[in-house]
């Protein structure tokens, strides 16, 4: 590419706000034709938002997008496609009950006499399947194919609408090693045919292999760019991290006691090949760090007995859980604030009182079968007061409460049960700053009372400032453990992106 030629696709000063939160702030990106351009950053750095804007899924608030040096408006997916930009989604969007050819031409079926011309679909499909190196019949049912092959079909589908720019969002997240290599071969071959690829991945090693250039985002802003010869694992991590957290939340140190929760050689359904070992002590706050999809939620769900364990054991205060049911976990003193509070944490059409009393209803029952109305009322009154839940009344459906107050109701459900171990999955997702601080204070208060806390969080500040100890997971494995002294953003990112433990030690010292 000569300097005089404008980049194929360029974003200038893109800004996007969601309900007061700035997801992107003056972000720029320039991608040349025929390059593989990686975009990286921590969870929540703004990668997905940027890609959605480029693919026309959502419009930017400020800034411009240029194609071949001309300003264009990409305010719908159709428009973006018209400009040759296609997004290959993280979750595949194929109808698995239809065959390959029908999927490629879905919505654009060629017709003859008003009927679908399946012969033409077949002939055309074969052309695009060949481009992605697939030697399968267009008549094959998509549902019978592996995820890796389905991904190739997504790419073939994009090529069939003349896509010149393919945006791949975590394309390898569910691919095997072999499939990943096959994908890379296809990317190389597409590149040689002049197709441009914007590649998003958490897997820095893949980026070292495949990318021509890397743009790094941090907290919704440009953090830098690396050219082919500058790309290295260390250089990327260095750019992704680096923010001041001293102002974030100042927590007190407190007494740490005996081990309350121990997880021994646990294998989850999601990652049955990896064993997880970890311990949480009384009064200890253990952060569970990792990138999205590292298997943290699955691990917590398994400990809480929602998902069945493949093997291994879980003990509370030295006592092993016998039948791995959620009811038993609760009886043993495990409580969990799940990731999706609206689906898993709350019954939205019930009031604060009914939600709070639900897990303890059976324990508090009177006369064998009756709900203890007096206890319910006093428990919920106490929680509303102690946690400062803002609600017009204890029977107002929690659907109408703010995110922060809803989360307090979920935590309140478990506080009245006096848990020994509290598991929290993304405890402050989608709550405002004020409520965040209150939730941190609640967590701290519980730790002070001797509750062992294990919380998964994708927010680096939260992990860094709240944890006594951090356990980092990567693709279903615990890749390392960091004490408060060893704790740094670099160290976490190294482990979270699959860096070896030895590298971490040196990085943490440096």
């Amino acid at each position: 590419m000569t300097d005089s030629q404008p980049p194929l696709i360029e974003a200038r000063g893109l800004t996007k706000r969601f309900a007061g939160v700035t997801a992107l702030n003056q972000v720029s990106l320039a991608v040349d034709q025929g390059e593989v351009h990686a975009v990286i950053g921590e969870n929540g750095a703004g990668k997905s938002t940027l890609m959605k804007i480029l693919a026309g899924v959502q419009p930017q608030d400020e800034g411009a997008i240029l194609i071949n040096g001309e300003v264009v408006s990409l305010n719908s997916v159709e428009r973006a496609m018209g400009h040759g930009i296609a997004l290959i989604h993280q979750e595949l969007n194929l109808a698995d009950n239809l065959d390959v050819g029908s999927n490629i031409f879905l919505g654009r079926e060629p017709t003859r006499l008003g009927l679908i011309d399946s012969r033409q679909i077949e002939a055309e499909s074969e052309k695009f399947l060949e481009m992605v190196g697939l030697d399968i019949s267009p008549k094959t049912l998509v549902g019978t194919l592996t995820i890796g092959v389905q991904q190739m079909i997504e790419i073939a589908k994009a090529l069939s609408v003349n896509a010149r720019v393919l945006i791949m969002d975590e394309p390898t997240s569910s691919l095997s090693q072999l499939e990943t290599e096959e994908l890379f071969r296809v990317i190389e071959s597409l590149k040689s045919q002049g197709v441009t690829i914007i590649y998003i991945s958490h897997r820095l090693f893949e980026i070292e292999t495949i990318a021509d250039r890397v743009t790094v985002l941090r907290d919704g802003e440009n953090a830098g760019q690396l050219t082919r010869d500058q790309i290295s694992h260390e250089a990327m991590v260095e750019m992704m991290v680096g923010r001041d957290i001293s102002q974030f939340y100042a927590r007190e140190n407190h007494q740490i006691g005996e081990t309350v929760l121990s997880i021994d050689r646990l294998r989850t359904l999601a990652w049955p090949r990896h064993e997880v070992n970890l311990e949480v002590k009384a009064g200890e706050m253990v952060g569970l760090a990792g990138l999205v999809g590292a298997g943290r939620s699955e691990m917590l769900r398994t400990v809480f007995g929602i998902d069945a364990a493949v093997s291994g054991s879980i003990s509370v205060n030295g006592q092993k859980l016998k039948n791995h049911s959620c009811g038993e976990a609760i009886e043993m003193g495990i409580a969990m604030v799940p990731e999706d509070r609206k689906q898993e944490g709350l019954i939205l059409d019930m009031g604060t009182k009914d939600n709070i009393s639900l897990p303890g209803l059976s324990q508090n029952r009177v006369g064998g079968i009756f709900a203890n109305a007096r206890q319910e009322a006093s428990d919920s009154d106490l929680m509303i007061k102690e946690m400062r839940i803002k609600t017009p009344g204890d029977s107002q459906p929690v659907r109408y409460l703010s995110g922060g107050n809803q989360q307090k109701v979920v935590i309140g459900k478990w506080l009245s049960m006096n848990p020994t171990v509290l598991l929290l999955d993304e405890p402050t997702r989608g709550v405002d700053i004020g409520a965040k601080q209150e939730i941190y204070r609640l967590m701290e208060g519980l730790a002070e009372k001797g509750v062992g806390i294990l919380f998964a969080s994708s927010e680096m500040e939260e992990v860094l400032s709240m944890s006594d100890r951090v356990i980092v997971m990567h693709e279903g494995c615990v890749t390392g453990e960091l004490t408060r002294e060893e704790l740094s953003e670099e160290a976490i990112m190294h482990l979270a992106t699959g860096g070896a433990g030895t590298q971490v030690k040196t990085a943490a010292k440096g």
């Binding site: 049911s325 689906q343 019954i347 639900l358 079968i369």
Partner: protein, 329 residues
Amino acid sequence: MKKALGILGLLIFICVATAIMSDRFLTEYNVENLIRRSALFGILSIGAAFVIITAGIDLSIGSVVCLVGCILPWMLIECEFSVPIALLSITGISLGIGLTHGILITKVKLQPFVVTLCGLLFYRGLTRGIVQDQTQGFRGGFSELRELSQGQLSLPYTDFGIPNPCLILIAVAILAIILLNYTVYGRYMLALGRNETATRYSGINTDKITILAYVICGLLSGLGGMLFVLDVGSAQPVDFGNFYELYAIAGAVLGGCSLRGGEGTIIGVIIGAAVMQVLKNTITLVDAIPTNIEYAVIGAVILGGVITDELVKRLASRRRANLQAKQTD
């Protein structure tokens, strides 16, 4: 409760309108008969309501009514079973049916619609096979047993009496109200009907609770079947209890149950079941309405009821939004 008042208004309106249009409506015979029929269908509707509250459905109610209704006289007359053994047997059959439905739905993870649709076909076919399509009756005997349905508690100083099925309904309703509103099991049913995932995350064995709902529905269908046959005196396996599941479900829905689950009051359901019966009675009595459009009228009334309910709900949520908008100003 507001919903129950709305449906009560509809019931009173239909009653008053019919009383004006037909002088046969308020006769002693008609009123007593109407109360008896309403009570019988009310029992079925309460069963359906429990299942609907857990976001399920039971299409087999009518066929269970047929099975129990035919098997009871068959056991007493053809097999010469004693009354206690016959009653115990039908209790066991209804309980077993509910248990089977519940287990197939929760453990085998089949859809309630499919399981109970198969039940609808299976129990009717089974009944016809067992009794060889012969009408089963009490042949004028067992009058003491039949008092359960035909008898009445006469009110002192009047000519009126409360039909026994109505007393049985009251007992069933009281138990159902207590179960649904004051026990932990009822709360679990309401919770799991609204959000099964969150209920499971609260440590509740949702499978057990779902099975309980189907068992209750099975038992009440059996009780209904028994009372129906004791009332009528004989049952034809081909059409006894035909469509009763639809009356039961319609009564529950009209009475405020949402098929999405988690909603409903027992009182509302009983009134809903009564509306269905009064409506049928109205069509028979009022000469201006031809009898052959019975189903069309019932269908239209149910549709009107649920449309009104939806509109009221929308109005309420709009009012709430306006209120919130005002508060933030």
